[in-house]
Amino acid sequence: MMPRKNLLVSAVRKEQILKTLAQGKRVDGRGLLDYRPLSITPNVIEKAEGSALVKLGDTHVIAGVKMGVGTPFPDTPNEGILIVNAEILPTASEYQEPGPPDEDSIELARVVDRGIRESKMIDFSKLVIEPGKHVYTVYVDISVIGMDGNLFDASSYAAVVALMTTKYYPFINQNGNLVKGSEKVPLPIQDLGISTTFAKIDSYIIVDPTWEEESIMEARLTMVYDKSGDICAVQKGGNGGLLLDDVLKIVDLAKSKSEEMRKVLEGVISNA
């Protein structure tokens, strides 16, 4: 049996959601273009080089960064390696079975990965210890603890804040031997991609959908903007289509929303 990923929302509840939207509100009291209360706590895992716990309403995600040393890929001998992995834990919902990552976990990891990679967030040319031989591998592991929709934004915020606050012991190449340095250094950060996710329900466009809203939506659009305001990653989700007009509308809405969220994340990072 395929696990049920969408909640079956009762007819009465669906009506309730639509009637509330018609009055410019959400069932949890938000406006259509409001995020849920967002709390971001960096450095929650002392054993990780970087970490952050994100609570976006009842969606709870923790990301941890571990630094390793590996061999570079043959086609990029002068670049460090990024590995993003996500697991929607069985703690997150009753429909999540324990086991290897399912398609949702893999999609989630890949979308977060794309946002980090394509925004050129990390200068990978600076993560080389010995060209062609030893480079750093940056592992970003994302664990979704509790699930109430919009895993993309919550996971992306957790990942980027964990990376921004990462501090690690560098390795120094001494006559072919790798020696651990004595002082921790931050990652070479050069940009920050900000993810925002919108959903279309009936004729309404909303931001930061809950699981219930995702279960009745036509479709969803996640957009990541870099600091110059360019789009660096996009993912459409959901089993319906989006009108071309809606896509164009969301592109603009997402841009201004991403600027708003950028301030929030930068505030968290500067206080970390």
Binding site: L8, V9, S10, A11, V12, R13, K14, E15, Q16, K19, T20, Q23, K25, V27
Partner: protein, 223 residues
Amino acid sequence: MSKLVVPGEVVAKGNFRSWSNVLKKGEEYLSIFVGKAEVGGGRVRVVRLSGPYIPKVGDFVIGMVTDVQPLAATIDINSYVNGYIMANAFFKRRIDPSKFDLSKKVNLGDLIAAKVQRIERGKDVYLQPDQKWKVEGDAVFYISPAKAHYIYTSRSRIPSKIKELTGAEVRLGANGVVVVKGDLKKIEMVKRALDVIESKYDLNGLYNEIIKVLSKDGESTDS
């Protein structure tokens, strides 16, 4: 006397005529739940405060249709067991199974008001739909099934008081499903009353607490 107890905690000592949700160990009665202990009149009991809805014959429940077959519908009754409604339960008369299709009458996602008619093998819960079985409303909420069942079985005045103070129509299922009819403001008030139920363990004090919260509500919106 009413006290919050946890599993394994001694609720009372001595001899009692009847007891429930406790284990008797010599002279001691130990709670098996997180709950509200009630001791008196020769009786010890713990009213549990969490856990699933445990169906009892005669309970009024509100459930959601999760599957429809020609002759039976499966109902999610917010429990660890499924509810079932057989097609003939909708009618007073016999039906011809070869010509009948329940899916023309009942839709996936419909909320259904029903009574628990019988429970077979401890697992299959058969429901008898109400006269007005299709639940219409403007909002649906879920509260702790354990507390809902307590309010339901104790014939509490809480549901009628909420109706009176909010002006909304409210139907409370013994399984914790609450359906409300009314405008957004009324729904919001009902929600506040339900939040009181969710946050308190002293179920005896609930009635007065709800009156307090809802009358505060009235004042603030008037001014």
